[in-house]
């Protein structure tokens, strides 16, 4: 069983600051983390490896510093790590990103056939959930998104049964491997890194692949050239014409403020009073 887990290094959202003048995100000095959703995918892969044996390879595309995210994954127990990094990838949107990742997975597959590809359900920075489906289509793999549970895996018959979150319920799906699974959060918890794995992570030689090593010949499918979408404008949200009416009264006591607020609101918005009074019945 060989599982490739696609991960992404993202800025720690809790520590993002916005530049007070230019209103742009200040990334300098913001610590990076492994996209939290990807850790659920990695843990699920490690559990399959614990049960069935095999290897877990982590893969990311990004700048050279993304190597740190791969080392973190090794410390949790991944066996191999590949960083796909090249200037030509700069500016990739989700279509171009899925092309580069799919190309790299084809190369990984040459060393050891890939049975499953796991991703998180989405990243916390792009939030698109588009790269997983894109990679599946490019590799012609069966796509299973929002998987909350892997019910069974039959390696001999190359069959997998999963529970997939859908609108209003859970679909139980049976499919063939190789397939690509985007793993839903919250159904497992990342294990602690063992001392042995931490030492291993420190020494592990991460495979650094440029476009050639990743098997990419047609660079028009990567980076800016390979990206149909362009960001044409960045702007601040329009403020409401009128700012909030700040409720004040003589005492400024919570009780008086509350009563003043209700009086004002019910006068201006009688339908809110109606809505609330409905609840008295």
């Amino acid at each position: 069983m060989h599982i490739v887990v696609c991960i992404k290094q993202v800025p720690d959202s809790a520590q993002i600051r916005v530049h007070p003048v230019t209103n742009t995100i200040m990334r300098q000095g913001v610590p990076t983390i492994v996209n939290p959703y990807d850790l659920f995918a990695l843990e699920e892969a490690l559990r399959i490896k614990d049960q069935y044996g095999g290897r877990v390879t982590v893969l990311t595309m990004g700048p050279p510093m993304a190597e740190a995210a791969l080392r973190k994954a090794i410390s949790y127990g991944a066996d191999d790590a590949v960083l796909v990094t090249d200037r030509v990838f700069a500016g990739s949107d989700t279509l171009a990103t899925s092309f580069a990742l799919a190309s790299a997975i084809k190369q990984i597959n040459k060393d050891m056939p890939v049975d499953l590809v796991f991703t998180g359900k989405q990243t916390i920075d792009g939030d698109t959930a588009q790269v997983g489906p894109g990679v599946a289509k490019r590799l012609d793999m069966q796509l299973l998104t929002y998987v909350s549970k892997i019910r069974s895996l039959d390696i001999e018959n190359k069959e997998i049964v999963v529970e997939r979150r859908s609108e209003g319920g859970v679909q139980v799906l049976k499919t063939k491997i190789p397939s690509l699974i985007t793993v839903l959060e919250g159904n497992n918890e990342m294990r602690f890194a063992t001392m042995a794995n931490m030492f291993r992570a420190a020494r592990y030689p991460v495979k650094i692949w440029n476009k050639d090593a990743a098997g990419i010949e047609d660079i028009t499918k990567t980076g800016l050239k390979g990206s149909p979408t362009v960001v044409s404008k960045v702007f601040a949200p329009t403020p409401r014409a009128v700012k909030a009416e700040i409720i004040q009264c003589e005492s400024n006591e919570p009780k008086d403020l509350s009563v003043t607020l209700l009086t004002k609101m019910f006068t201006k918005f009688p339908k809110i009073e109606k809505e609330i009074s409905k609840r008295a019945a």
Partner: protein
């Protein structure tokens, strides 16, 4: 949407008029994928028809619904629902293989329709189904897809869709365009757009097509479907009143004050991303870009600063009350009423005030 925000392309600066590729000029019209599961249309599809109608009128083109499902009256009735909500025509693919949603047949069905009838814009709901399908179709067609848009518009000169969404972690929105590729695809989350009026006197044309697949060629099989037990799940998107708390509530124990007010008002409880990530309330209560989008009549935000992440999920509320001890918190820029003060003392007072009002209404009623 660029995955790596730091490497996003600069805006095209030149004033040179954009000229659409000849072969792409054949792509005409706006399509909305009509999502349904277990015999019910997802409201997001109707919301998209409302928005699509406006854009179609601006472009002077027709609005079409795409209905795929098992043969029968129910599937066919979805075409009429689409007409009632603004569509001029519907593309209908009926096949028993489309009974349950599966990626493979739905991707093929929708991709084939796009290649045959060539729409310039294609919208899908950003649901689990819509995101699964949109990502697959966009990759198969090798075109651009913008996820979770909060505003849609068109640039009439370039005949280009302007799809806006929040940028990561910041206080800004960005507009994304797909210039020289067709169709231009975008997803929108439920409740982001307003529900259009239903007009049962409207009608339209149905264009039928075939799926052209056999079950044996579809690798993934549906073994069963386990419906959610709805009664125990929070239903924020359709709640009339929501009381939400943010990091300003300081401690998980203080969230009881939120629950108390919600109980008096018969309201749902909401929360910001940090609060959900800290485990104070369950995931289904998260309001914002990565949580639920809500449009209640009344939204009470306590200890919430009003970051764009949260704002896009709730600023379509009819009336917003904000309680925050920072008079400069951005939430006061878009709330209707603000109380500057400590949420821990204001909330109990507000709960009492509502209780008193309800007691009076009961007497009067």
């Amino acid at each position: 949407m660029s995955e790596a925000t730091e490497t996003q392309k600069p805006a095209p600066t030149g004033k040179k008029k954009f000229e659409l590729d000849e072969r792409l000029k054949a792509y005409k019209g706006i399509w909305v994928f009509i999502e349904h599961e277990r015999g019910v249309i997802h409201p997001v599809s109707l919301e998209l028809l409302g928005e699509g109608r406006k854009l179609a009128d601006m472009l002077g083109v027709e609005l079409a619904g795409v209905v795929m499902g098992p043969p029968g009256d129910t599937t066919r009735s979805f075409c009429h629902e689409a007409f009632f909500h603004g569509a001029n025509l519907c593309y209908l693919v009926e096949d028993a293989l489309l009974t349950d949603y599966r990626n493979e047949p739905y991707t093929k069905g929708l991709t084939d329709l796009v290649n045959k009838y060539q729409p310039e814009i294609l919208f899908l709901g950003a649901t689990t189904l819509g995101r699964d399908l949109a990502g697959s179709v966009a990759t198969t067609l090798k075109t651009g897809l913008t996820a979770d848009c909060t505003e849609l518009n068109v640039d009439l000169d370039a005949r280009s869709l302007l799809a806006s969404r929040p940028t990561f972690g910041g206080s800004l929105l960005c507009t994304i365009q797909t210039l020289n590729y067709r169709p231009q695809m975008a997803t929108v989350r439920p409740r982001v757009m307003a529900m259009p009026e239903r007009d049962a006197s409207r009608n339209g044309r149905i264009i039928e097509d075939k799926l052209g697949m056999v079950e044996s060629s579809i690798i993934t099989k549906v073994l069963e479907f386990i419906p959610d037990e709805m009664q125990d799940k929070p239903q924020l998107p359709f709640a009339d009143i929501i009381v939400s708390g943010g990091r300003g509530m300081k401690k998980p124990e203080n969230f009881k004050l939120i629950w108390d007010l919600a109980a008096v008002l018969g309201a749902e409880v909401g929360a910001t991303r940090p609060v959900v990530q800290a485990g104070w309330v369950e995931l289904d209560r998260q309001v914002g870009q990565s949580g639920k989008t809500v449009r209640p009549k009344l939204y009470i935000a306590a200890g919430i600063s009003g970051a764009i992440q949260h704002r896009v999920g709730m600023d379509a509320s009819d009336v917003i009350i904000a309680i925050n001890n920072d008079p400069n918190a951005p939430i006061f820029d878009f709330a209707h009423y603000g109380i500057v003060g400590n949420a821990m003392t204001i909330l109990p007072a507000l709960t009492e005030a509502f209780k008193t009002h309800l007691a009076m209404a009961r007497k009067a009623g």
